[in-house]
Symmetry: C2
Subunit: 311 residues, 2 copies
């Protein structure tokens, strides 16, 4: 009955339907349930892993609809808080010929409070997973620090998605410094090259891996986009090519990767073998349009990708 606690932002993404130079020019948007923790819980659910979300949305039509969406999937939302005043946090994203522009309108996610019953929230938890969003606001950061203390006291391992963007840290100007400190207690961190660059500045993949370890992370998976990923346990580094045979849609590939890794770790696999599962999950997402497509079981994914003999 092991479970994964997932802490962080549930967001509404509003993505422009037309391609624009500037987000301000966009005149129509599509609405998506988003935020890495929501995607992760959903992927874990697809793989048959129970998770429990700690998050905060507004008591508004979007927050209520998101909760309903998660409940319909069978995800435990009993620790998702509803703020009576702040709105559900939103991210507007432009479709663009170059890099997409985004603008975060933060509300309830910043105001995350402690779980009303921390013992019950942490019951049967093997891993607790954090993103950087709750670390960027004062109140939610305090909650995360308390949960880290609880996890360290009770032997719960900490996984961390360092999806750091300086622009989200307007109030606390200590973003990368705080994140480096946070790494001290982390069992596994999975940065992309962009994340690593935002935290440590320009560098080479092996330098980044070394820096994450030096900051305290026990295991590091550095993702390199189409070039695959590099996995390190601090003793050896293994490079894993992406198993995706075609690129259809990379949205949500990172969260899918996490779900496969956590599936492996929960099953007692080491970080290298677990990363292979993560790679399958990400590969499946990349080969299919839209993150709403249900992830097949790990066995089915093995069959799909091993038959393809992608390595």
């Amino acid at each position: 009955m092991s479970r994964i606690a997932v802490v962080g932002e549930l967001l509404i993404d509003l993505i422009s339907t037309n391609t624009v130079k500037d987000l301000g020019e966009a005149t129509s948007f599509r609405r998506f349930f988003a935020g890495s923790p929501g995607n992760l819980a959903s992927n874990l659910n697809d793989l048959g892993i129970e998770s429990i979300l700690l998050s905060r949305v507004g008591n508004d039509p979007f927050g209520r609809a998101y909760l309903e969406h998660l409940r319909l999937k069978g995800i435990d939302t009993s620790f998702v808080q509803q703020d009576q005043e702040a709105h559900t946090s939103m991210v507007f994203v432009s479709r663009s010929q170059s890099s997409p522009q985004f603008s975060a309108f933060r509300g309830a996610d910043c105001l995350l409070e402690e779980p009303y019953d921390i013992d019950s929230f942490m019951k049967d938890i093997d891993f607790i997973h954090f993103t950087t969003w709750p670390l960027s606001c004062e109140r939610s950061r305090e909650v995360c620090c308390k949960l880290v203390d609880y996890a360290l006291r009770t032997g719960v391992r900490i996984t961390f998605d360092p999806n750091y963007r300086q622009i989200l840290w307007t109030h606390n100007q200590d973003g990368s410094e705080f994140i480096i400190g946070f790494l001290e207690n982390v069992f596994l961190v999975k940065p992309s090259e962009d994340d690593a660059n935002e935290i440590f500045g320009p560098g080479e993949p092996l330098d980044y891996i070394r820096k994450f370890h030096e900051s305290g992370a026990k295991n590091v998976i550095l993702t390199l986009g189409q070039k695959g990923s590099m996995i390190s346990d601090g003793n050896r580094v293994v490079t894993l090519p992406s198993c995706a045979r075609r690129v259809v849609d990379t949205t949500g590939a990172g969260d899918a990767f996490w779900s496969g890794v956590l599936f492996g770790l929960l099953g007692g696999k080491d970080i290298f073998e677990s990363a292979v599962y993560g790679n399958y999950c990400a590969g499946f997402r990349i080969e299919h349009e839209g993150k709403e497509v249900i992830l097949p079981s790990i066995d089915a994914l093995k069959a799909i990708f091993e038959a393809g003999d992608y390595l």
Copy 2:
């Protein structure tokens, strides 16, 4: 060189493109530049009246695009503030078979500050116009009260759009009470029946008019939708039927009405004759799809509607 000062919210409206039962079900939205003060400034500009806006948007793609939109029309935005942290306020609206549902995500509009140079802002001002939005938040309310004092000291007449909805006043629970007090110094108030009902509770049109006068408003225009409007100077009440010959789109009709009334008052007409101009402007908006259609001159509107002999 007389001008009108317009104080209040510049909003981004996001209106669902599909008809839904609940706003949370809406999956796509169109973006519009909105907020009654922005619409009013735009209508006044169409009629050749100079206005100056006091408002606050976020320094985000939406706020910047809205300012650019106003500037392109030639509207003075030198007193529109840009908040560095809070986002441009937004309103999500559902298209619905019954009444549209809305959800306001307020940001910068609540944080309105005093004009950096109040004498320059109030220079050559004949009327200062308020909506209820800035009255609903503590900081912006203080700014309004200072401007009212300044107006009373300098003989600037106050017009007031009592577009009150209790749901916007979550922090200050004194909505209708405060509005009734605010009416004390008002030269002209133009409520709809819905506004009057929100402020005074259920009642008949003549009762509402009496209550607005008793609260201090010198002139009252009560709009009754398709039934037209009732105009009162405290001595007599005139009923004015709507001049719209067909109903295409009622969006923005109220703000158009205001612009015609203010055109008349600036030209020295009394409230009854000014209301006829307001009626023309509203009629034109109602007969045309979209508030982006430029309002013709009052002379042209006269020709359009008097030729139709609508009275």
